[in-house]
């Protein structure tokens, strides 16, 4: 009781915590144990920085905003893909070591850093925004909020690539050349469902980008730090658009018929 009354907020939960950090370069390496003095308010990135400053100056770790908005500090903490800056230590078991390893879906560079440049190459392959002719003579468009709502959810993405990391098609089966991953299905959905856009990305999604590889495990949705409903609102609606174009002859006939009647 007396010790509680003398504890300041900064000291609450103060303890020595063991961390197992992955050390090594280009795919080789091992877990190395460190002990850091931590408190409840700290996040994993705080502890990694403390270790970097006091015990391992050459520890490679990518980070930037420390506010869950830049998507730089993605890693696997206790086996789960998470942002280091958004994982509070008081959410992890205090009696066990905290393991931190780099993302497994991308080539390893050093320690906790991976090379995520493949993602930027993938993005270049997706047809860009292609708006219809402007609605007004001054070259502007008119759009209802109702129509923008659906794609605005996808704009929250911070490109942390945790969804790519957890997706077993990339992580375990390494289908990088033929599967663009949940991040870029979300990106494609944002363009494909945009009320102004006129391009058709559906054939490419089916034939070149491997949409059919997704077996809806929802792991991407589970790890998204922005809580984007990747599977329900992006991937499955895209799968349904593929069905429209390739697997639903009856629906296609109905649409052609109703278009002719409306014309």
């Amino acid at each position: 009781m007396s010790s509680a009354s003398t504890t300041t907020p900064a000291d609450s939960g103060a303890r020595d915590q063991t961390f197992k950090l992955w050390r090594g370069e280009k795919g080789t390496g091992e877990f190395q144990d460190f002990t850091a003095h931590v408190t409840d308010g700290m996040v994993v990135l705080d502890a990694v920085h403390q270790i970097q400053a006091e015990q391992a100056n050459d520890l490679a770790c990518r980070w930037n905003c420390k506010a869950g908005k830049c998507g730089s500090c993605s890693a696997e903490i206790n086996g789960k893909p998470r942002l280091m800056c958004m994982t509070r230590l008081d959410q992890l078991p205090a009696d066990q070591p905290v393991t931190v390893e780099p993302m497994r879906a991308f080539p390893h560079v050093k320690d906790l850093v991976t090379d995520v440049s493949w993602n930027f190459e993938v993005k270049k392959r997706i047809a860009k925004f292609n708006p219809r002719k402007p609605d007004a003579p001054d070259g502007t468009w008119r759009m209802q909020q109702l129509d923008a709502d659906r794609v605005q959810e996808f704009r929250k993405c911070i490109e942390c690539f945790l969804c790519q990391d957890v997706c077993h098609v990339l992580r375990d089966h390494h289908k990088h050349p033929e599967f663009i991953g949940p991040r870029f299905f979300t990106y494609s959905a944002a363009l494909e469902m945009h009320p102004l856009d006129e391009s058709d990305r559906v054939p490419a999604l089916k034939n070149d980008f491997g949409l059919g590889y997704c077996n809806i495990t929802k792991c991407c949705t589970d790890v998204c730090p922005e809580h984007i409903h990747i599977t329900d609102n992006a991937i499955i609606p895209l799968k349904e658009r593929v069905v429209d174009e390739f697997y639903d002859p009856v629906g296609k006939l109905v649409k052609i018929f109703s278009r002719k009647r409306g014309a």
């Binding site: 080539p107 329900d232 390739f246 009856v250």
Partner: protein, 263 residues
């Protein structure tokens, strides 16, 4: 770009996750198996699935049969008794709807096929083809099963309505029994599951990029999306309510319990 540095695939079940990751897939395996086995057993039984105005959802609609619920009367003379399982003629339709449902697919790929067993957990196989090859691409026909499933909701609703009409001394009176409420609860939950279907959500409005100017379509899409948020929960609950309704009716029919007439 080469991916030679990607980590070696983990062995089956290998992970650094500390939580009980094996529990959800194991629960899915047990629950889905129980539903499949119980539903098949119920469909193969020739009696006990009706009690007064109550009728088991596993047998609805009864095309031929000994009860007053049968659409086309009793068993035809040409149909051998040892092959007379009329429920097996109708059960495949809602069964295929659930089998090809996006929620169930995600769940049973994990629970039954370990593809993956859980997010960020090693898989048993190194090869993976997703939903691209035959017969897996047949999952794309989910919307056709959805059309039938929507019709089945109408049939279950009619059965639930009939469950409020009791034959008292040869006169049909409105009343409320516990079974009436059980059947109503079952059709309500099953309807919440069916009307939250991803394919229905798509054909009702998801296929369009603009819903403004179409208030009825927009309202239906919004309602469907709302139910879709808890699609998995309704899917699981409706399995439970179906089994519970069937068991309740069977217990009443066999005299083990007495149906309490509230009104």
């Amino acid at each position: 770009m080469t991916h030679a540095q990607l980590p070696i695939q983990r062995r089956f079940g290998e992970t650094l996750r500390r939580d009980a990751w094996w529990l959800p897939p194991l629960t899915v395996l047990a629950a889905f198996s129980a539903f499949l086995i119980y539903g098949t057993w119920s469909a193969l039984t020739s009696g006990g699935y009706t009690f007064g105005p109550y009728f088991s959802p596993f047998h609805a609609p009864e095309l031929w049969g000994p009860t007053e619920h049968a659409w086309f009367g009793p068993q035809p003379a040409w149909w051998p008794s040892f092959l007379f399982f009329p429920a097996l003629l109708v059960l495949p339709f809602p069964g295929l709807f659930r089998f090809s449902c996006y929620y169930y697919r995600g769940a049973y790929y994990k629970g039954f096929w370990a593809d993956p067993p859980a997010c960020a957990v090693g898989e048993p196989r190194t090869t993976y083809r997703g939903e691209r090859p035959f017969p897996n691409w047949l999952q794309n026909l989910h919307r056709y099963t959805m059309y039938v499933a929507v019709a089945f909701i109408g049939l279950l609703a009619i059965d639930a309505w009939k469950a409020f009409w009791f034959l008292d001394n040869g006169v049909e009176n409105f009343g409320i029994g516990v079974g009436s409420l059980v059947m109503t609860a079952n059709v309500t939950v099953t309807a919440a599951y069916t009307f939250g279907c991803h394919s229905l959500r798509h054909v009702i409005g998801g296929f369009k990029d603009r819903l403004s100017g179409q208030p009825v379509r927009a309202a239906c899409y919004a309602g469907c999306s709302k139910l879709n948020e808890r699609h998995g929960l309704y899917a699981k609950t409706s399995m439970g309510t179906m089994i519970f309704t069937d068991i309740y009716i069977r217990l009443c029919a066999s005299g083990v319990i007495t149906d309490w007439r509230i009104f």
